[in-house]
């Protein structure tokens, strides 16, 4: 029987940054991850826990200090360009060029992925329809709202129909309506077979969207599993008489109190 390769596999992933004051900063201290193909996988953690650093290593944007990672079956360190062909990336703070129009940005992205001019134009039209930006396609991006920018960023990450889509805090700073729209997009993208690796600070978001999740704290994975399993595990371990929420799981895993968490992680119901 053929075993399907995991979409993401990381083993003992470590990232150190040199620091003039403190020698080395250990941002990620040995992360093991396995994300199955077709999953929506949530990656949670407080600010500074190592979420974005891990994502940047998996998306080839940062070198790996030690350990290994394979994305879409390709070793990230050995063949970063092949990984880039197979992934879509929408990073924290939509990374867009404000002086281009939405259409120009998508056409350029498609051309950079090797589409011909006519195929790029066709794919751009499809994506603009998908994220409902056809009416704003020829306006400069600097005039877009936060929600429109996020949707355009998502569209640009989907130009080449990636196997794995990395979304780094895709709804941070969005109003509840825009957040719901992004959630719908994520579900729609996943339904088409794309594996989604979703970094978020919003526990409600993870609960709504993710098949499985991992919680990272201080550079290490402290919990990993299905949201329901993690909640049931906590209830059993602490012998609770009520169903714990995902933020209970989060606080238990990170050793944070509600008052301490208030500054780090927000629970938002869209």
């Amino acid at each position: 029987m053929n075993e399907i390769a995991p979409a993401i596999e990381a083993a003992a992933l470590v990232k150190h940054y040199p620091s003039s004051k403190n020698g080395n900063i250990e941002a990620v201290r040995g992360v093991d991850l396995r994300v199955e193909s077709g999953e929506v996988f949530g990656f949670l953690g407080p600010n500074g826990a190592g979420k974005s650093t891990t994502v940047k290593m998996l998306t080839t944007l940062l070198t790996i200090t030690s350990g290994s990672a394979r994305v879409a079956g390709v070793d990230v360190a050995d063949d970063p360009d092949d990984v880039r062909r197979r992934i879509g990336v929408a990073l924290q703070e939509a990374g867009l060029d404000p002086r281009q129009t939405g259409r120009e940005l998508l056409v350029l992205q498609a051309r950079l992925f090797g589409f011909s001019a006519s195929d790029a134009a066709k794919r751009t039209d499809e994506l603009l329809q998908l994220v409902e930006l056809d009416d704003a396609a020829d306006r400069h991006i600097k005039g877009y709202s936060g929600g429109m920018k996020r949707r355009l960023d998502l569209a640009s990450a989907l130009v080449h129909e990636p196997d794995v889509l990395f979304l780094d805090e895709p709804t941070t700073g969005l109003d509840p309506v825009s957040r719901l729209t992004v959630w719908d997009e994520v579900r729609r993208i996943n339904a088409r077979g794309t594996t989604v690796f979703l970094t978020t600070q919003y526990l409600e978001e993870a609960d709504q969207l993710c098949d499985r999740l991992a919680i990272i704290d201080d550079g290490r994975i402290v919990r990993q599993g299905r949201p329901a399993e993690l909640k049931a595990g906590l209830r059993e371990r602490l012998d609770l008489d009520h169903e714990p929420t995902l933020d209970d799981v989060f606080m238990d895993a990170t050793g944070r109190s509600r008052s301490r968490v208030a500054g780090d992680v927000q629970e938002v119901a869209a």
């Binding site: 940047k56 880039r84 990073l91 703070e93 990374g95 867009l96 002086r99 281009q100 350029l108 950079l112």
Partner: protein, 251 residues
Amino acid sequence: MSQAWLLGQRALREGARSPEALLPTLFIPLFFLAVNVGQAAEIFPSSSTDFLNGQGYGAFQLPSSLLLAASFGTAALFLVEEIEGGYFDKLRAAPVSRTAIVAGRLIAEAVKGVLIAVAIVVLGLIFGITIASGLVGFLLLVGLTALWAVVFTGFMQLIALKTRSAAATNSAGLVFFPLLFLTPNFVPRDLLTRPMEIAATLNPVTYVMEALRSLVLEDLDWGTILPGFAVVAVLGVIVIALNVRVINTYD
């Protein structure tokens, strides 16, 4: 179509959509041309100043203005914006050649350099300056100015990639002013004081300026023109190689 040219076209659109960043590159050099000519034209009348070859002092000053216009390096500041805004990472996360990312902006800078040089020279022609080396000389004048724009922007881009800071990149651009004033900016090199002559001889910008000046004031004098092109070729190779190295190890 190559990735570098696609990114170059984007950088050109960016420039065209930011006239507030582009206009000073035309206005400030013309302002210095007018001021310098206004201050020194009486000292160097064309009738009795041999090094002007019968032209006015404006012809002698034109190369300084061309070099100044080509030394703004605004593309590097756009690059810092792009790094801070996240689009640079978006490009790095795509299968785009790292060389294309740095070359795209430099290609655009060459095109902008051509347009600005043509505009300044045409304005100079309107005010009575002639290009003594003819059409070929005019093309070489514009080409050398554009190549210098690539070199200087490459240097600024290098600072932008290393520091990721608009303030540091902007400050690095000021390095051009000491380099400009250590050239035979107001008189030919042989009329400078000895210490200034030594400094000018050691300054690579001198050879670019003398090549440009020769194209304005004399018939094609390859002995002066070629060192100017050699300087931009050598500096160009160095800054592009350093840009590629820095972007390849960018973390």
